[in-house]
């Protein structure tokens, strides 16, 4: 940390402060996490009856069911985390703070990512127990991390946009889903490949795609976030 220059240190401090503010608020209220979690479990329950998750189909559809669950639960979290800022006028306060606005973006994105990862880490063992499949494979956790990073990177940016429109929370999934399709495809394919024990060279292209998506969209969001919150 010491050899970094002062602006970088300030930036990291601001990012940490914004992320910590969200996490601390959530730690006290647990509103968002409990809602996301219950919602995720309900989605799995619905899939159970919609798809007849018997032993034979389970192998091939598990990754799809998991990612659909994460994506739906994720939208709930993204919406809520931005709506809270807007409703109580916190966003204006944040914007008045003398810090780089990209730090606000990264702080929000990190807290959103943490919420999503917590939900995923609770859903995975529950799914494993319910359907008797082992999901504790380090590579699968890696894919889930990469997919969630890409999803929240775009999601945080679009949530900041949709919260400032008239239709608000209805708009977020409509804006978000067509843009995150590459993440959904790559993440489902990579997780499915890992669960069905494909050879690694068949899985790598999907993981590379996830990496490319993450890098591109984090940098773009970093560059355009200013335009989204500007008054």
């Amino acid at each position: 940390m010491k050899k970094w220059s002062r602006p970088v240190k300030d930036f990291l401090r601001a990012t940490r402060a914004v992320a910590w503010k969200d996490l601390a608020a959530e730690l006290r209220s647990r509103e968002l996490l409990s809602a996301m979690l219950v919602f995720a479990l309900l989605v799995i329950l619905i899939f159970n009856f919609a798809l007849e998750l018997d032993v034979k189909t389970r192998r091939s559809v598990t990754s799809g069911v998991l990612w659909a669950t994460f994506i739906f639960a994720g939208t709930l979290g993204l919406n809520r985390s931005m709506a809270v800022e807007k409703d109580r006028g916190c966003l204006d306060g944040l914007l008045l703070a003398p810090v780089d606005r990209a730090a606000i973006y990264f702080g929000k994105a990190i807290s959103n990512l943490v919420f999503m990862l917590i939900v995923e880490m609770i859903v995975l063992p529950i799914y494993s127990v319910l359907y008797n499949v082992s999901l504790f494979e380090p590579r699968l956790l890696g894919v889930i991390l990469l997919g969630s990073v890409g999803y929240t990177a775009v999601g945080t940016l679009l949530a900041a946009m949709s919260v400032q429109t008239r239709t608000r929370d209805v708009l977020l999934p409509i804006l978000l889903f067509p843009v995150v399709i590459p993440v959904a495809i790559a993440a489902v394919k990579a997780s499915g490949g890992i669960l069905q024990a494909w050879p690694m060279e068949d899985i790598m292209p999907w993981i590379n795609l996830l990496l490319v998506y993450d890098v591109i969209f984090i940098s773009v969001a970093f560059m355009v976030f200013d335009y989204v919150v500007e008054e």
């Binding site: 940016l157 608000r168 804006l175 067509p178 590459p182 495809i185 292209p205 490319v212 969209f217």
Partner: protein, 231 residues
Amino acid sequence: MTEQPVALKVLNGLSALLVAAALWMVVFYAPLEAVMGLVQKVFYFHVANAWVGMLGFIAAAFAGIAYLATKDVKWDIVGVAAVEISLVFFFIAIATGSIWAYPVWNTWWTWDPRLTTAAVLEMIYLAYLLLRQGIEDPDRRARFGAVYTLLGGLSVPLTFMSIRLFRTIHPVVVGGGNGGEGGFSMTPAMLNTMFFSIFVFSVVFITLFWHRVRLGRLAQRVEELKLKAMD
């Protein structure tokens, strides 16, 4: 500004004549394809429409970047015009493609890279229009629209690539070794017809684009006059 410029009037007439000529070429000049027969004739306008859709898509992404860089309303008007035209032409391309695919592939639709990408593009355009509809402040509307076209412009090529990792059945008729399902080699008359159609629809694109930008300018003036009247 109320009267159409002469060049535009000329373009109107020229577009009508060219479309009629292209229709004549498709029906009478281009030979009947040996295997597929009459239904193959839809191909000429299908390619031309998809081409115009692509033009609009690229124009929209660049207009988005130009708007964010210059903050000039002109680019916002160009962006909306490009999106609206591209939306319609891609829809025509999808519809004509389905008409061709049903007898040749024996299905109206398949999740091939190009088909999926076209469908995702349509979704992004619809989301873009919904987003604009939900914002009253013209400045913010333009900024959000530009950011969203930029995100779409980056995500759609990745969607295409990610589905390309699956196998494709869409024929690559121009400059492709792989014939795909229902590919065919073109006689010179067919080639002429195709390139002429592409040219014709490019002219139609320019004409419509001009009209739409003009409409955008007029709408902007009406909005300004309304604001003035309210003061």
